[in-house]
């Protein structure tokens, strides 16, 4: 279980908070953090014959917490998108895989029409990530789904998602190397994909 985050700011200011933060650091304590469940390797989806402003919806990855706590997703956006690729909406639902039912992973539809049961804007994530060795049997986690579009007819691409979330009074960003490519060509002549991003070092 792993993931990367970028601290973007403290929820409050003032000497007392700074002192508390310093003391927390000195004690080695940590805030609950949002993570990607399972392996974090670059992955992604390329779809074809996609024109400007046509909505596409995708399931992405399962999210979980690194320890007891909860996180509320505030925003999802692409990391360094091209051609105006953007996230228009996001939604979450409990881990759909253990139920084994039919599950659409992608489609040229609005997010509510991709799969039933997804909550637009997301619900708080509370599931703790699997312990090492328990990944195979773990059934927790929250699936993140996104609805995207691009503002031009060309090839739009991003290597990763930045998920901004709030947890325990702090705002963090989880970087997820899950890419989306919307190609304006037919599948027989696909748009060339850039190489996957390098993963950061250990946090």
């Amino acid at each position: 279980v792993s993931g990367w985050r970028v601290r973007t700011g403290l929820a409050a200011s003032g000497i007392a908070v700074l002192l508390a933060a310093a003391a927390l650091s000195a004690c080695g304590a940590s805030q609950p953090e949002l993570r990607v469940a399972g392996n974090v390797e670059p992955a992604g989806i390329e779809e074809f014959d996609v024109g400007a402003n046509e909505p596409w919806s995708f399931l992405t990855v399962l999210l979980c917490m690194n320890q007891e706590g909860s996180a509320r997703i505030e925003n999802v956006e692409f990391d360094e998108p091209t051609a105006g690729l953007r996230v228009d909406a996001f939604a979450t639902a409990p881990n759909p895989y253990p139920s084994g039912g039919p599950l659409n992973g992608a489609g040229p539809v609005l997010l509510p029409n991709l799969n039933p049961g997804y909550v637009l804007g997301g619900e708080p994530i509370t599931s703790v990530c699997p312990k090492p060795g328990e990944e195979a049997s773990w059934t927790g986690g929250t699936m993140l789904a996104i609805q995207v579009s691009k503002d031009s007819d060309g090839f739009a691409f991003s290597q990763a998602l930045n998920v901004t979330y709030e947890s325990d009074g702090s705002q963090d960003v989880l970087w997820i190397p899950f890419g989306i490519a919307l190609c304006d060509q037919p599948q027989a002549t696909p748009c060339p994909l850039p190489p996957p991003p390098s993963l950061p070092g250990p946090d």
Partner: protein, 394 residues
């Protein structure tokens, strides 16, 4: 001075308050200071003889030069190995040995160094090879075993040496690499590996390794399984800089061969390759091995260079996993092959040794979906976050 004292008082007050309050968060382990001299990531282990812990055993970590440098050595030329650290096991047989920064000739562009770890108890010694990578993270630098997930929060490799009659090395890999569901022949390299001991235990670094002219070219290396169907064939891409962990053959005094750990082969000599259309195949690269002999009578057969990328395939039986997502079109890519060690991944004539493609982003597997397909992961994290994935008809 008053200001300093006042600040100190305030910090102590805040600290006291926090200790009184139940914060409720676990304590994270510190990973050490930043910079290339970081001491985080020591190798730990246990030395025993026939299962009984050995106190005072000598444990030595020695760096090998990079493959491009080794490739310049003619037969008979000595290898300029670099002693990095030597420690003794404590009263319980345990040891902790810390890698340190090595010169550029001993690390590849990704910061990975191939080491041999030699353990001796005064009468016998066992040698084991492994690769370590130094990476700088947000909270400091850290050594990790090459092939370990770069963001793993778990413990690193721990080694158990036994110098007794049934000599060998037990290796406890990070949990992320040992817990995956995999087909029967995708065996993770855990447990105990028999390694011959040298009956005369030389002190560290007395045995000098030298090059030979014994090369073994075009040895197939299994590095990936492409599980697919006609409606979603797999395209495999490898580019320069792909790191693979390949087994090293080891022999003492003309005895039986065994595997003595692994080393990192930075497979960057070629221009990479991309091949499309795989359905249920194991994918192979081809690598070259070379023998190295030492003055104490041992031989190592070590990976030396890449012969060819994506050079051959064999049939693979298609597993069916149940954590699936349905797609009707599109291309779905995933960097892969990093989580499964093929225990018999490379046949080096005298034995088969392990192969594991490296934890980087240079090996990509992509399913090109042309008919309704279920793309399934080997765990309940789905195809994106599972160590392996397969595609079958929806």
């Amino acid at each position: 001075v008053r200001r300093v004292l006042a600040r100190l008082q305030a910090v102590l007050l805040a600290l006291t308050l926090l200790l009184v309050l139940d914060i409720g968060h676990p304590v994270l382990a510190l990973t050490g200071p930043s910079g290339n001299t970081s001491s985080a990531g020591a190798l730990t282990g246990l030395v025993a003889r026939d299962g009984v812990p050995v106190a005072g055993a000598s444990v030595s970590l020695v760096a090998w030069p990079t493959n491009p440098i080794l490739a310049t050595l003619p037969a008979g030329a000595a290898v300029a190995t670099l002693p990095v650290a030597t420690v003794n096991s404590d009263s319980t047989g345990r040891f902790s040995i810390q890698p340190t920064a090595v010169p550029a000739d001993y690390r590849d562009p990704e910061g990975t160094t191939n080491y041999e770890l030699s353990v001796a108890d005064g009468t016998r010694s066992v040698l084991w090879n492994l690769s370590l990578t130094f990476t700088n993270g947000a909270t400091g630098g850290r050594w990790t075993t090459a092939g370990e997930p770069s963001a793993s929060q778990g413990p690193g490799t721990s080694l158990r040496f036994d110098l007794g009659v049934h000599s060998g090395v037990g290796i406890d890999l990070p949990s992320a690499m040992t817990s995956q569901t995999a087909p029967a022949d995708d065996v993770v390299q855990t447990g105990f590996t028999a390694v011959p001991a040298q009956s005369v235990a030389p002190a560290c670094c007395v045995c000098v390794w030298a090059a030979t002219n014994n090369w073994y070219y075009n040895r197939p290396e299994k590095f990936m399984a492409a599980y697919a169907w006609s409606g979603a064939k797999v395209t495999v891409t490898q580019v320069n800089g792909t790191d693979h962990q390949l087994g090293i053959g080891y022999q003492v005094s003309g005895g039986n061969w065994s595997q003595s750990g692994t080393m990192n082969l930075d497979e960057s000599s070629g221009g990479g390759a991309e091949v499309a259309g795989f359905i249920n195949k194991y994918i192979y690269n081809a690598v070259n091995y070379r023998d190295w002999v030492n003055s104490c009578g041992a031989t190592q057969r070590r990976p030396a260079s890449t012969y060819a990328f994506i050079s051959s395939t064999t049939s693979a039986s298609h597993p069916t996993w149940s954590y699936c997502t349905t797609y009707t079109s599109g291309t779905f890519w995933k960097t892969s092959g990093t989580n499964v060690t093929y225990s018999a991944g490379v046949n080096i004539i005298v034995l088969s040794v392990s192969a594991q493609s490296g934890w980087n982003t240079s090996t990509k597997e992509a399913w090109v979906v042309t008919s309704a397909t279920k793309l399934c992961g080997s765990t309940s994290q789905g195809w994106v976050s599972s160590p392996q994935a397969e595609a079958h008809q929806a």
